[in-house]
Amino acid sequence: MIELDNVSYGYRGQPLFSQLSLELAPGSFHFLTGPSGAGKTTLLRLCYADLQAQQGQVRLFGKDATRLDRDAVALTRRRIGVVHQDCQFLDHLSVAENIALPLTVSGRVAEAAANLSELLNWVGLAEQAHQLPQELSGGERQRAALARAVIMSPDFIIADEPTGNVDWEMSQRLMTLLTELNRMGKTILIATHDLNLIRTIKSGVSARVLRLRGGLLDQAGAEL
């Protein structure tokens, strides 16, 4: 579904990682861990064509990401639900409108109403639907972001630190939502530096834990 083949990326000539390979099979559940600044966000951005590999190849749904034109990038992103580290809401739209935004911009406004109430209930934001995003608590924002990520029923869901700024109980709830999605057959990739979180959830799903450190990606196991 998503393949990284000997990918290198760095900022200002400084390589962050090089020759990194990764394959995310359909239906798999991956955690990406590593210290802050290791390049987790950068790696995720490569997966939804927000960045282009400087070397090597990223294949999204079988297509070389560098060969996608701007329209193709847009269409590819509709198939990937992303919970961004900083949520990325439009501040002048209500929570409900923000969640429905992917449908709106794909011209599927009519479907929004039907899916929306169900989704709002699922993430527990029915009450807050008409508030503005900046009026929500950290946990509510993360759940709204998750709702927006899944409203297009994407096969692939990426979450970047979805439990940052969120208390323990709320992060448990978010993780439960993500494992539910995985049981529905979605492919999940979650970046987090919170190992405790991984430990509590690992028993519930068959997740692989990848660790990015010093420019290298390896399987973590022993310390979990």
Binding site: R70, A74, R77, Q88, F89, L90, L93, P102, V105, R148
Partner: protein, 295 residues
């Protein structure tokens, strides 16, 4: 047509994704209004100049005068009339009455002059047939038979007048083009400013899978409507301003009111439409160019 309808009605939801713009929006309305105002005046002046010049040139082409010396006797006048009436291409010839001659001089000498006291030549008004007459031949004949008579066919006036009129027309249309170009440039600047102010909104829209045309449309729709509405306002004010210009004395077709006549009235309708089209094209080009540079 569908495109125009889409543009006017739009889809409310897609319109909401870009927050209403502040200063760039109001500037666009103002610029479109001001430019439409100037465009109305430029077109009105150009059309009027063309109309007046045409009228003058036509009038001068058909009318000529034969001037007989001061104190010419009736025999000479009758001989002159005979000569003129037998010239092919001349429809009629008529001696101007004293009252008519006094009216011609009134602007210069006042209304209450006595013609008797002045050494005024006798004037014969000549009206040519449409195809005209042979002025050079007539002049040669007069030199032979009536050396004191002078034919004035206004040829000296006509050529420079027609030339001046065509220059005025050229300058007028050039001003109009400049106005349209200046408006396009200002709209491009405003669109760029608006797109820059909304960089973060555009980024979010791209992240959730919006195509460039979708994002561009939200901006293009606004700018097109604004330029169209601004231009309608400018045209209305321009027409009011033309109404306020003093009425010229149009008798004799020598002067004309600055304004629109007949088919010229299409222009006040065309200008807002043209402004909207310019707004559409300029914003779309600006938006697509800018989006291509933004991730």
């Amino acid at each position: 047509m569908k495109l125009v309808l889409d543009l006017l009605i739009g889809d409310a939801q897609s319109d909401r994704v870009v927050p209403p713009t502040g200063i760039a929006a109001r500037l666009t309305v103002f610029v479109a209004g001001a430019m439409a105002f100037l465009a109305v005046l430029a077109v009105a002046l150009t059309l009027t100049a063309a109309r007046v010049a045409d009228a003058w040139a036509n009038e001068l082409a058909q009318a000529a005068t034969l001037r007989l010396p001061v104190g010419a006797d009736d025999a000479l006048v009758i001989a002159a009339l005979n000569l003129l009436e037998t010239t092919p291409g001349i429809a009629s010839a008529r001696v101007l009455s004293d009252a008519e001659q006094a009216a011609l001089l009134a602007p210069w000498l006042g209304a209450d002059i006595g013609l008797d006291e002045l050494p005024v030549p006798r004037l014969i008004a000549i009206v040519a047939e449409d195809q005209g007459y042979d002025a050079a031949g007539l002049r040669a004949r007069l030199t032979g038979e009536m050396p004191t008579a002078v034919l004035d066919d206004h040829g000296r006036w006509r050529a420079p007048l027609v030339q001046a009129a065509s220059r005025v027309r050229l300058v007028g249309w050039f001003s109009f083009l400049l106005i349209v170009a200046a408006m396009a440039a200002m709209i491009v600047l405003a669109a760029h400013a608006s797109l820059a102010a909304h960089a973060q909104v555009i980024r979010v829209l791209r992240l959730v899978g919006a195509r460039d045309v979708y994002i561009a449309r939200a901006f293009v729709r606004r700018f097109t409507l604004r330029t169209g509405l601004g231009a309608i306002g400018g045209v209305i004010i321009g027409l009011l301003a033309l109404e306020l210009l003093p009425d010229a004395d149009t008798a004799g077709g020598f002067l004309a009111n600055v304004g629109f006549e007949g088919a010229g009235w299409l222009w006040p309708l065309v200008i807002p439409l043209l402004a909207a089209i310019v707004g559409f094209v300029a914003t779309r080009a600006a938006a697509m160019a800018r989006l291509r540079d933004q991730t």
